[in-house]
């Protein structure tokens, strides 16, 4: 049985790597997408359990992606963690997100949050 999927949408490869390692440590399969438009295409075919979403992305913003995710019924169980360096924008989007993390985000914190999510099954 495969692990649940965590989609990491983050244009900075190093951060994406750290997030991926933290989620893998919590037994998630991870997939990294660095472009907004690309993420939109990918979301058309997959329904990830967790989306770690950066807001400042090339070609399509994280904000637009979040709106799209929230608009579709099939993402009802998808947990969205905003991971951004823009605290002001993050606060504005907080109602639509399951969790807001302002960079810098600790590896252990993300790992522990992801573990809690795996254990509880749904709520964070």
């Amino acid at each position: 049985m495969s692990n649940p999927l965590a989609l990491i949408i983050e244009d900075d490869l190093k951060l994406a790597d750290i997030f991926a390692q933290a989620l893998q440590a919590a037994d998630f399969d991870t997939e990294i997408i660095r472009d907004g438009e690309e993420a939109r295409h990918r979301l058309a075919t997959v329904s990830p359990t967790v989306v770690v979403l950066d807001l400042h992305l090339p070609s399509l913003s994280g904000e637009q992606l979040l709106r799209q995710i929230r608009a579709e019924e099939r993402f009802a169980e998808t947990r969205v963690m905003i991971a951004t360096a823009d605290p002001i924008l993050a606060e504005a989007l907080r109602p639509d997100a399951d969790l807001v993390l302002v960079k810098p985000i600790s590896f252990s914190q993300l790992r522990d949050l992801a573990k809690r999510l795996r254990l509880s099954g749904s709520s964070m």
Binding site: A85, P87, R94, P104
Partner: protein, 663 residues
């Protein structure tokens, strides 16, 4: 019956009487004398003088004198007088006297002769032993006439004397000084009269003037005005009226102003003339005039030198414009006087002025002010502060318009406004720049944190003790750098006044989570425990500004970690009561001495802030934490004891979404 020669003799006597008394001044004396002489010469025993009075068509008479004194006033006579019928003709009077019995005179018949002095209302009644011959009576008529004339002349003299007396009374009762001077064709000057008022007017005794006629022109008239007075005398000498004003030096040295007005009346032969002069004290009027003149001069000088343009308009016609008006408008005074006022006002402001009734040019409204643009002769636009007021100008209703050039002030205001806009813009750009910089710094910082932490966690294999130490130093330094980056943006936002607090729902758990993420790493690295506790009584979601709350909490935690070397830092979120919730951060650090507590919330100096950052990062500084807390309507408390640690509590008003919805 007396013969004709005797009668002529009587006539002659009467005539002589009339002539002799004609020059007498007193009418009474004259009448009495004439009666007495008449009685004596005619050998009569009694007679009287009666005044005829006529009032409302009724003739009555009154005896004013009689000879002998008692006879005429006997009872019968008085009774008869009282019983006279209302209207009495003169003929009846004669009858009356003829019927009148006279006591002690029975040997003689009752013959009366009455001499009437026409126009005077005087009857001279003579009782005679016999009737006069009609011829004599007839010849008495011219005598009567003469006597009447003599009496009239006498009366006129009396009237003149009375008039003279009255004149003197009038002269002495008025304050003006009166004089009378006679001039002859040959140029001779005779001073006939000088009124006693000269004394009051000048303070010199009257004798001074009466003894020495040159005293007035040479001593009393002010030396500077003597030449002018001499010209007046010259005019009088030529028979011309003259009126001049000059100064007098009073005996006490005071100077008064007088008006000397002389009218010339020429004699019939035109060879002599008299000047009737009146000298009036006009000092008071002169003083008023002088005051007015000075005041007028003062205001004219003011108007001519003041920097504001002053115009006076009446019926749209400019009556006055001052030099500043010329300077301000570029038009000459002559041009301004001919010009329409509206030509000076910028078209954009004409309607406004007309609508606001600012220049009604008729009303006496109190002053109104407006800022307007006006046009100079070369069409340059200037700003002016316009004020108007209704006034009386030279007897006509007019409008006083003043314009103060405020172009420079306006330009300064505009420059200031632009500078302010630029400053605001610059400040905003600085904040934006800092926001970008801090955003761009957070991402690589996150990578450093992430990889270092993974190494620390052993993701990349076990580390030696020295490697662990190095990792701790990297994490500590990165923490400082992170604080610095965070504070850079916060500080800029606070400094530029751009902190706008929002009211958003947030979970207290998220607030703690956000802070403990990196702070936990920093605390662990320092060997400290970072413990957090959330009161279950606190609603799961409350309202507030999560960003700035997190900044406050992060700074309190950061400070606590910084100063604590051993033990723990405790974050406690609690519901204090129905109204307040709080978060407190307590540590097991060294505590803050009371003298430091006294100023711990005081604003830090910039240098100090940098220094403290350099030496470990003090966060925003407690003054800014306090400022933000108070901005949120909360309060901050410090509880610290040396050796026992420090607790900082931020208490805030509790608004939860649930409660808000319920309402």
């Amino acid at each position: 019956m007396k013969n004709a020669s005797e009668q002529m003799q009587i006539l002659q006597i009467l005539y002589e009487i009339a002539m002799s008394i004609g020059s007498s001044l007193d009418l009474n004396q004259m009448l009495k004398a004439s009666l007495s002489t008449l009685l004596k010469k005619l050998n009569c025993s009694a007679g009287g003088i009666h005044l005829i009075k006529e009032a409302r068509g009724r003739v009555s008479f009154e005896q004013v004198y009689s000879i002998p004194r008692n006879t005429g006033r006997n009872e019968t006579y008085q009774l008869a007088l009282q019983n006279l019928p209302p209207i009495l003709a003169k003929k009846e009077l004669v009858n009356f006297f003829q019927r009148l019995p006279l006591s002690g005179q029975s040997d003689q018949g009752n013959y009366f002769h009455i001499l009437e002095l026409p126009d005077l209302g005087v009857l001279i009644v003579v009782k005679m032993g016999q009737d006069l011959d009609p011829l004599i009576v007839k010849s008495l008529h011219p005598l009567q006439k003469k006597l009447a004339e003599a009496c009239k002349a006498c009366l006129t003299k009396e009237a003149l004397a009375r008039s003279e007396r009255r004149f003197r009374q009038v002269v002495s009762s008025i304050s003006d000084h009166v004089y009378m001077t006679e001039f002859t064709g040959e140029g001779e000057q005779i001073n006939r009269y000088i009124a006693p008022n000269a004394e009051t007017l000048t303070g010199y005794p009257l004798e001074k003037f009466r003894n020495d006629w040159s005293f007035w022109p040479t001593t009393v008239i002010h030396p500077d005005d003597q030449a002018l007075a001499a010209v007046q005398v010259e005019r009088f000498a030529q028979g011309q009226n003259s009126e001049i004003e000059y100064r007098l030096v009073r005996a006490n040295g005071n100077i008064i102003w007088v008006r000397d007005s002389g009218r010339v009346e020429k004699d019939e032969d035109q060879q002599r003339w008299t000047v009737y002069g009146v000298v009036s004290d006009i000092t008071e009027r002169k003083q008023v005039e002088q005051t007015l003149k000075e005041s007028e001069k003062k205001f004219r000088t003011l108007a001519e030198t003041i920097g504001s343009a002053i115009f006076i308009y009446s019926d749209q016609q400019c009556l006055y414009a001052n030099p500043a008006a010329e300077e301000m408008t570029g038009y000459s005074r002559m041009e301004l006087l001919k010009m329409d006022f509206w030509k000076l006002v910028h078209p954009d402001f004409q309607e406004m002025i007309k609508e606001s009734d600012l220049i009604s040019l008729h009303s006496k409204k109190s002053s109104s002010r407006y800022e307007i643009k006006f046009l100079q002769k070369d069409d340059q636009e200037r700003w002016g502060e316009l004020a108007t007021r209704g006034i009386d100008f030279e007897g006509q209703s007019a409008e006083l318009v003043t314009v103060f050039d405020v172009t420079k002030r306006k330009q300064a205001e505009e420059a200031l406004s632009m500078a302010y806009q630029k400053a605001v813009e610059a400040s905003r750009m600085k904040t934006d720049l800092l926001a970008n910089v801090s955003h761009d710094l957070r991402t690589p910082l996150n990578a450093i944190f992430g990889y270092t932490e993974m190494m620390q966690e052993g993701v990349y294999g076990p580390l030696s003790g020295r490697q662990q130490e190095a990792i701790k130093k990297i994490i500590g330094s990165t923490g400082q750098l992170l604080n610095f980056v965070n504070n850079l943006l916060d500080q800029a936002q606070i400094d530029s006044g751009q902190v706008v607090l929002k009211t958003l729902p947030f979970a207290p758990a998220d607030l703690v989570e956000g802070v403990t993420s990196i702070m936990g790493l920093l605390a662990r690295t320092k060997g400290l425990k970072l413990i957090s506790h959330i009161d279950p009584a606190l609603p799961p979601t409350i309202l507030g500004d999560p960003y700035w709350l997190r900044q406050i909490l992060a700074n309190l935690v950061s400070n606590a970690i910084k100063f604590t070397e051993k033990g723990q830092v405790h974050i406690n979120l609690a519901r204090l009561n129905e109204v307040y919730w709080s978060f407190e951060v307590s540590d097991t650090g060294p505590g803050i001495p009371p003298d430091v507590q006294a100023f711990i919330f005081e604003p830090y100096q910039q240098e100090d802030t940098f220094t403290s950052r350099g030496s470990g990062g003090s966060g925003l500084g407690l003054s800014i934490v306090k400022h933000l807390t108070e901005l949120m309507g909360g309060k901050i408390d410090l509880n610290s004891e040396v050796g026992k640690g420090t607790t900082l509590t931020v208490a805030l008003l509790l608004f939860s979404e649930e409660e808000t919805n319920e309402e």
